[in-house]
């Protein structure tokens, strides 16, 4: 019995330790699978809704009205009526609408401009427009009238693959994780091992410690982001950006880096247990990532998940990165994403510094 008794002793001791960490245990056993099942399962729906499209109606008669109503049944698309092609194009370029439908005077040949930078939404829109045309052509009242023809013209990222679609989000996530680790985990370890005390008793300003640590974290996370970018290149990802676009992409990477370094050091100020820290990180970052639109467009997400996507900095970063990398840089297409992300990064960064100060003073 000796051996089994000892095994039991060891087991019982570990179980005792285990039972003393309700947070870790709960997240591992309950919260974790639950969160992922709920979020994952509802993030990749098979139907889209509310995809914004611009309609330029030159017919303005009963034919065009019935065509628009045929498109909007099922709520896959949301029509944003536009007076002129120029106005519609402006919205299209800024990715405020994902497609333009032009109904000419005769209403017999509908033109469709789709944005291929998101292949899934483009596909959904094309099929909705075609279905509407087919339905009206075979409707009982349309006997004798010529069938409606849809001419589809694909813009942006023609031939973009799913990997092209995925790449921007993966690069953003790499930076975010790098920032969390280099900002948070390394600090956590230094504190636990006493190495951090060396800095605290050194004759240097506390601000030097804070800024030095942040700077090294920024460098490390940017390096990991750039490595991810290079790997994406090597794997064949196409990046359509131009010099200004690349500069904005790097600025974007900085914003993501600052945002998650802020989060990392703030977490370190409040959580000193390594396991609890890792769990918290997983719980925050994974759902944020899943709903960020990296894997599938946000428009296919369950309605109640969308608010989560809206508060996730990764959503804006991924959207901006995708616009730059697949569609090519235009200021209009990234300005709102940049504005929101900059605000979030500033907030998280200042919060991080404030929490950090609390621990060094």
């Amino acid at each position: 019995m000796g051996l089994f008794g000892d095994i039991f002793t060891v087991w019982a001791k570990d179980m005792r330790v285990w039972s003393k960490k309700p947070f870790v245990v709960l997240s591992r056993a309950l919260i974790f699978p639950l969160v992922y099942l709920v979020i994952f399962a509802n993030s990749f729906g098979d139907s889209f809704y509310d995809l914004p499209i611009a309609v330029v109606d030159l017919n303005a008669g009963p034919a065009s009205l019935s065509f628009v109503s045929a498109m909007t049944t099922g709520n896959t698309v949301r029509v944003v009526a536009q007076p002129s092609y120029e106005k519609a194009l402006e919205l299209f370029k800024a990715r405020k609408v994902y497609a333009i439908v032009i109904i000419p005077k005769g209403a017999a040949e509908v033109s469709l401009l789709a944005d291929q930078s998101s292949p899934q939404t483009a596909g959904a829109i094309i099929s909705v427009v075609n279905a509407a045309a087919a339905r009206l052509s075979s409707a009982p009242g349309s006997a004798g009238a010529p069938p409606i023809i849809v001419r589809t013209d694909v813009h942006y990222g023609r031939g973009a693959s799913y990997m092209d679609f995925l790449t921007p989000g993966v690069i953003i996530q790499t930076i975010a994780m790098g920032a969390l680790f280099s900002g948070g985990v390394s600090l956590l370890f230094e504190k636990q091992l006493g190495v951090f005390n060396l800095l605290l008793v050194a004759p240097i300003d506390k601000m030097a410690i804070i800024m030095g640590k942040i700077l090294s974290a920024v460098t490390q996370s940017m390096a990991s982001g750039l490595i991810a970018l290079v790997i994406a290149f090597l794997l064949g990802a196409k990046i359509k950006a131009g010099v200004v676009g690349i500069l904005f992409l790097i600025l974007l990477m900085f914003l993501v880096s600052f945002c998650f370094i802020g989060l990392g050091i703030a977490m370190t100020a409040y959580i000193s247990d390594f396991q609890a820290w890792m769990m918290t990180m997983q719980l925050i970052i994974m759902p944020f990532w899943i709903v960020s639109g990296t894997f599938f467009p946000i428009e296919s997400m369950a309605w109640w998940l969308r608010p989560l996507a809206l508060v996730s900095p990764l959503t804006y970063a991924t959207s901006a990165a995708r616009n730059i990398m697949i569609r090519g840089f235009t200021f209009a297409s990234v300005s709102s994403d940049f504005a929101v992300l900059a605000g979030m990064a500033a907030f998280m960064f200042l919060f991080g510094i404030k929490s950090f100060r609390r621990t060094v003073e």
Partner: protein, 334 residues
Amino acid sequence: MAKASKTAISVKGLVKRFGDLSAVKGITFSVKEGEIFGFLGPNGAGKSMTINMLTTLLVPTGGDATVAGVSVVGSPETVRERICLISQEGSVDGDLTAEENLVFYGRLYHVPEKELSRRVDRALEFVNLSDRRATRVKFYSGGMRRRLEMAKVFISDPKVIFLDEPTIGLDPQSRDMVWKKIFEINRSKGITIFVTTHYMQEAEGLCNRIAIMDHGKIIAMDTPAALREGIGIGEIVEVEVRHDGAFHRALAKAGFEVEPLSRNKYRITAKGSGGVERVVGIARKSGTKIINMLARRPTMEDVFMHYTGREVRDGTEAGNLLTKVLARNARGGG
């Protein structure tokens, strides 16, 4: 070594409170320049709090202390320039080599680059780590790590060195080496040394003066010799007899303090001198046969027990390495 009575550390009414809990209750003492000052006390006595306040890691709730002539409350930055803290957790980074660690340390203390490489060489030589300078510290043994900690002293040229449990968890050889180095640093450079330790014998042998702290207060402070005299014990006699008979009672009657250690074995505390003869006399008179006998003068450990009692303290100080080390040893590990 001791330069004429200049003061290196002067503590006045130092207080540290956490809410209702007073960890340090207004202590006052001073350490002379060039002294090795031992700071003893049971776990949770307030030693670490005190050392943290003196090294500016903690801001005192009340009172003040000057270290190397500078107030820890008034200008902690200047204090930090003049001190070196060698703590029990260690502060070297395992991922860096010994040399890299010391260079980093020197830069934190703004040592000019040219001077720095000279000091790093000298420091590594002093702690006998020259041949291992390019090894990453995570591959060092505990003793080597501790020696590397000591090497910091030669980099920043401090006026006062604070050592928090410098020999904890080390084997006797490494402990001996560390103490030798402490003594050498003190001798050769005349640097004031403030050291906390649980090894009473080591403190006794090396410290010029010792303070004993308990429950947030300093309860005794003097030279080791004066402290031993001060508790009024002449000799401690441990005696083992064949049959007790009337021996035990006769001892108590004669005014000895008797503490049974096991069956037929006693520890006898004798005030004044001549304790051994009197114990032997009582044994002879009561017809008791002595099997074994050990007599000794009181040690620092007896002084410590005298002032702080025999009751075991539950260590509450954060990161109490001693507890961990003891637990590991008790399990039969390293």
